[in-house]
Subunit: 147 residues, 2 copies
């Protein structure tokens, strides 16, 4: 790869992962950028769009675009909050809930692909390193916001 | 993070990395999806758009969009191939070449952020693991293409 930096590897792995995800999600009408919202709403039924954006650590525009697609394709319902009509609460539809086990299987399949040839010790050490890298970038991004 | 899989970590690290990159590249009129083309053309002056797409392991549309922006902002020249006028060869402009040391500094800075708190042994083991993960996803993507 020439330049052996974490950033370079993370980027090329990410791009390949999107190809694999799109290939598996394609027939369900779900994009690689959308499935993560299905999981998050499933675990947090009734969450607001604002809280969902925070939870996924993404920008508001990306959330709005993904939710629109998921609503159009019948995975997500947006219900007006009774107490405050300016806000919507997000729920999975039956189609969305039925998709959860399929999504779990896709994610397990991808985890198996990614970790092929790695022993359990190497796997857990790599997870620990990725956790450290994630904390480092997260701290650095939060410093930007306080600038 | 709840679901402790490689894929989930790769995705959130990638998204945070894009924020950090955009923050640093913003004042130069270069997007986080474009800088990689500057480096690649620098190392391969005169490369064709087709070969560049292959080299970066990205899709043609993304390459075309990034090159248009880089040409508009004065970083890249597209010169018609004398031998075959259907093709263009890509070169960095003086502005593009002058940007290389700045880009190196930005990338070094990000590598330092990502690897903060990691000793040299952990660093090289993590690079080795990321290399394995990359080979795994690359093999899996190439199997898709042969389906």
């Amino acid at each position: 790869m020439g330049n052996e930096s974490f950033g370079r590897y993370i980027s090329v792995i990410y791009r390949h992962l999107q190809i694999l995800l799109n290939n598996r999600l394609n027939s369900y009408g779900v994009g690689s950028g959308q499935y993560i919202f299905i999981s998050a709403i499933y675990k947090n039924q009734g969450i607001s769009q604002k809280d969902l954006t925070k939870l996924i650590k993404i920008d508001r525009a990306t959330t709005a675009k993904a939710l629109l697609k998921l609503e159009q394709n019948g995975y997500v319902d947006r219900i007006k909050d009774k107490d405050d009509k300016r806000y919507h609460k997000l729920y999975l539809t039956k189609k969305g809930i039925d998709f959860i086990p399929i999504l779990d299987e896709i994610q397990n399949d991808l985890t198996n692909i990614l970790s092929e040839g790695m022993d359990p010790d190497e796997y857990s050490k790599t997870i620990k390193s990725l956790e450290l890298i994630f904390n480092n970038v997260q701290n650095s991004v939060s410093l930007l916001k306080n600038e």
